[in-house]
């Protein structure tokens, strides 16, 4: 009994050790951009303006690039990155989709009236659960999507460098 128990314990901790060891090697703390190749999850989302529910996937068509940008009117860094989004809006080949994170509608509208609206479509995420399902850590965060796959993930506000990177990707 005691022997079996000890073997079990040792196997268990060895397993944890291996996982931690592997985790160390692909550690990823707040890297501003991560290369990922993941399918867009099946997710029902609500449009902020019309309050209609749609499939997230139905937004992405053909060979176009899409950028899901998680933002909120209360979030400081989101204001910082806003001009970048406004510039990005003028590029061909890319549509920006805003995911409004734990915000209230009036504030969100006001934010966009003030700073301009870079979004082709705005989705609502009242309790933050949609963002979590997408794999976000917080606001702001952006996901570059192509052919129904998330190809890049940008944690934190976008900046000029990332803007250039995105531009070169969508050419």
């Amino acid at each position: 009994m005691k022997n079996k128990f000890s073997i079990l314990l040792i196997v268990f901790f060895t397993f944890i050790f291996i996982i931690f060891y592997k985790g160390l090697n692909n550690s990823n703390i707040y890297v501003p951009s991560t290369q990922v190749e993941k399918d867009v999850p099946d997710l029902k989302v609500k449009l902020l303006r019309s309050q209609n529910e749609i499939e997230l996937k139905s937004l992405f068509e053909g060979n176009e690039f899409y950028l899901i940008n998680i933002w909120s009117s209360w979030c400081g860094p989101c204001r910082e990155e806003h001009p970048i989004l406004m510039n990005l809006k003028n590029q061909k080949n890319i549509n920006i989709i805003g995911l409004n994170y734990k915000d209230n509608k009036a504030n969100a509208e006001k934010f966009l009236r003030e700073l301009g609206n870079p979004y082709y479509e705005i989705l609502e995420d009242n309790n933050g659960s949609k963002s979590i399902e997408l794999g976000a850590y917080g606001v702001p965060e952006s996901f570059l999507i192509h052919q129904n796959k998330i190809i890049r993930k940008y944690i934190g506000p976008l900046n000029q460098n990332l803007f250039t990177e995105i531009n070169s990707l969508i050419k």
């Binding site: 005691k2 901790f13 692909n26 550690s27 009117s73 400081g76 204001r79 806003h82 976000a136 850590y137």
Partner: protein, 623 residues
């Protein structure tokens, strides 16, 4: 220059002392003589060297010696003296040196304070502790030397992260470390007591002091961290379930459970397996926390710079300790005497045991929530983050039995009980739930769960309060801490239920009205401080009862490094906190304003202080 050199060499000398201590300890172990005084002398010498080394680093920070890499990375000449000093442990290398300092200090105190214990037990504890100390020495010298020299000498340093420049945070790490390191003494003592079969009622009452003191520091350290997050990060809450917060909470769960087990052990010589496992668990969880935070394996706002080499070192060290403990536990541990285990389900033992299991459940929830993302990432390369809803859903329902048992448990006696004041207990229960129902029914929240939760907290609250008046000094420490806990849960619940917030954009001179609350943005001023410029907004807020207050949130623009932080302005009263932050909006004229009313905020801090106070009272009664 010089302080760094002295610091470095005394660190090496301190390391060498370890080998002398081990040599004399092993030689002395089987001799009939008393404890060799050389062991004590070398322990003292080691402590002295580490203190000199630490002071060398502090001095390098004070004189801004940028030839030292740690100072260069984390300090700046324009920083106030207080933050130059606290900058010593505001970084990875310095904080490890502090760890080491506290480790050597505690083992020296342990040797001084245990003259009545058996010699073999003292020596074996010292040996286990030296294993940990040597591990830290190697870690410091090999991967995180705080005294690295850089040439050419830079003329200016990079500066300390502004959000770390805060008084609460300056003392938060040392206090927390005292708690963690105290746990290391408990770890070594429990292992050596297991090997020597030394666990007895007497041992329990001796180790209880160390458990208490670590517990007090750990609790207080967590509190300081939480206060800092509230005032400095400006997210408007006291706990965010951030991985770094979680790793300090996990040892706390283990240590609190251990404290209760020790009580049972001291009286009845039961739960020895619990005591040993928890002593090991508390320290390994603290180490595991250090690993998770320092290796950069977790995604967290507080993660320090990551370096895989460091991560691997701590990981290997941590698991060597775990395997060593498993080995000792399996080969040497003797389970409880069967005749002692007989106790009725209505006894103190049963209630302690039941709440122990609940505590272990809370611990597992937090542990899984914290490390699960790592597992998932490794196994399926999927990335998720676990948020507050996970913890709330899994923990809150189980608080109900936890609170009720906390209320009734201390009323029971050991072995089995005939409750004398049954009527009393039931009357209190009815009153508490009635009161809770009365409060909740008028609010716009879910009735059933909130009534039961608030009712259970009230129950604990009233029972402990009445005991405080009735029993005077019997069990006063337990009473104070349990009372504090009920107050904590009540404040958290009310804080959650009654909070309200307004978020809007305003420009100077604008007046915003909503629900009878009027916010008047009067002006902004600029001010130059030593290490930052600040923009101060003045807001006049009139509430529904026509009382008006002025709040002055700030934006601080630090030049070294260049960061803007927003400093919330908080007006604290006994009943609520009024909290305001502002942020810049791109087109300058507007500011983003967040105004929150947080009821009973200060009671969260007060109740944790009361909980800690209970521990302190118990500690002073011991000595």
């Amino acid at each position: 220059m010089l302080p760094s050199i002295i610091g470095y060499y005394s660190l090496i000398l301190g390391f060498i002392c370890s080998f002398f201590i081990i040599f004399f300890s092993i030689r002395n172990f089987n001799q009939v003589l008393k404890l060799d005084t050389k062991i004590l002398s070398f322990s003292f010498l080691q402590l002295t060297f580490v203190v000199i080394s630490f002071l060398g680093l502090v001095l390098s920070f004070v004189i801004s010696d940028f030839s030292n890499e740690t100072v260069f990375n984390n300090s700046h000449t324009a920083k106030p003296l207080f933050y130059k000093i606290s900058g010593t442990w505001g970084n990875h290398e310095g904080s490890l040196l502090l760890w080491l300092l506290v480790l050597t200090l505690f083992i020296f105190l342990f040797l001084l304070r245990t003259k009545k214990q058996s010699k073999q037990y003292r020596i074996l504890t010292l040996l286990f502790q030296q294993i940990i100390i040597i591990g830290f020495f190697i870690f410091l010298l090999k991967t995180s030397n705080p005294f690295n020299y850089i040439y050419p000498i830079p003329s200016e340093g990079l500066g300390l992260n502004p959000i770390l420049q805060d008084p609460a945070l300056a003392i938060h790490p040392p206090i927390l470390y005292l708690g963690y390191v105290g746990a290391s003494i408990i770890f070594s003592a429990a292992l050596s007591a297991t090997v020597l079969n030394y666990i007895s009622k007497k041992w329990a009452s001796h180790i209880k002091k160390w458990v208490l003191i670590s517990w007090v520091f750990l609790t207080f350290g967590i509190l300081l961290g939480s206060i800092w997050a509230y005032y400095e990060l400006g997210w408007g809450g006291f706990w965010f379930w951030d991985p770094v917060e979680n790793v300090s909470l996990m040892p706390w769960f283990a240590l609190t459970t251990l404290l209760h087990c020790i009580l049972a052990l001291e009286r009845r010589l039961i739960l020895t397996s619990w005591v040993v496992v928890l002593s090991i668990g508390t320290f390994t969880l603290s180490m595991c926390g250090t690993f998770l935070v320092r290796s950069g394996i977790l995604n967290s706002v507080h993660t320090f710079a990551n370096d895989p080499e460091r991560g691997i070192f701590i990981l290997v060290f941590l698991f060597s300790l775990i395997f060593l403990s498993i080995f000792i536990f399996i080969f040497f541990h003797k389970p409880d005497n069967k005749s002692q285990i007989n106790f009725s389900w209505l006894s103190k033992e049963a209630s302690i045991l039941f709440n122990n299991w609940l505590m272990m459940y809370f611990l597992s929830v937090v542990l899984i929530g914290t490390v699960y993302p790592i597992f998932l990432d490794v196994i399926s390369s999927e990335q998720i983050s676990v948020g507050p809803p996970f913890y709330h859903r899994l923990i809150i329902p189980f608080l109900i039995p936890f609170l009720l048992i906390m209320a009734i448990g201390p009323k029971l006696s050991w072995i089995s009980t005939n409750i004398k004041q049954k009527l009393n207990l039931i009357i209190f229960l009815v009153i508490s739930f009635f009161l809770a129902g009365f409060i909740v029914v008028n609010l716009n929240v879910e009735f059933l769960i909130n009534t039961i939760l608030i009712g259970s907290s009230f129950y604990l609250f009233f029972l402990t309060l009445s005991d405080l008046f009735r029993n005077k000094l019997i069990n006063i420490s337990q009473n104070i801490s349990h009372f504090g806990f009920s107050l904590l849960i009540l404040s958290i619940l009310f804080n959650n239920i009654f909070s309200s917030e307004i978020i809007t954009n305003m420009k100077i001179g604008e007046v915003y009205k909503k629900d009878k609350i009027e916010i008047n943005f009067q002006k902004i001023e600029q001010k130059k401080e030593k290490n930052f410029n600040s923009i101060i907004g003045t807001f006049n807020i009139t509430d529904s009862e026509n009382k008006s207050i002025t709040l002055k949130p700030q934006l601080r623009i630090f030049n070294q490094p260049n960061i803007i932080t927003s400093e919330a302005d908080i007006k604290t009263t006994l009943f609520s906190d009024k909290f305001m932050v502002m942020n810049v909006v791109q087109n300058q004229e507007y500011f983003n304003i967040r105004y929150q009313i947080k009821p009973f905020m200060i009671w969260i801090w007060i109740s944790v202080i009361i909980i800690t106070l209970g521990g302190l009272v118990s500690f002073y009664r011991k000595i």
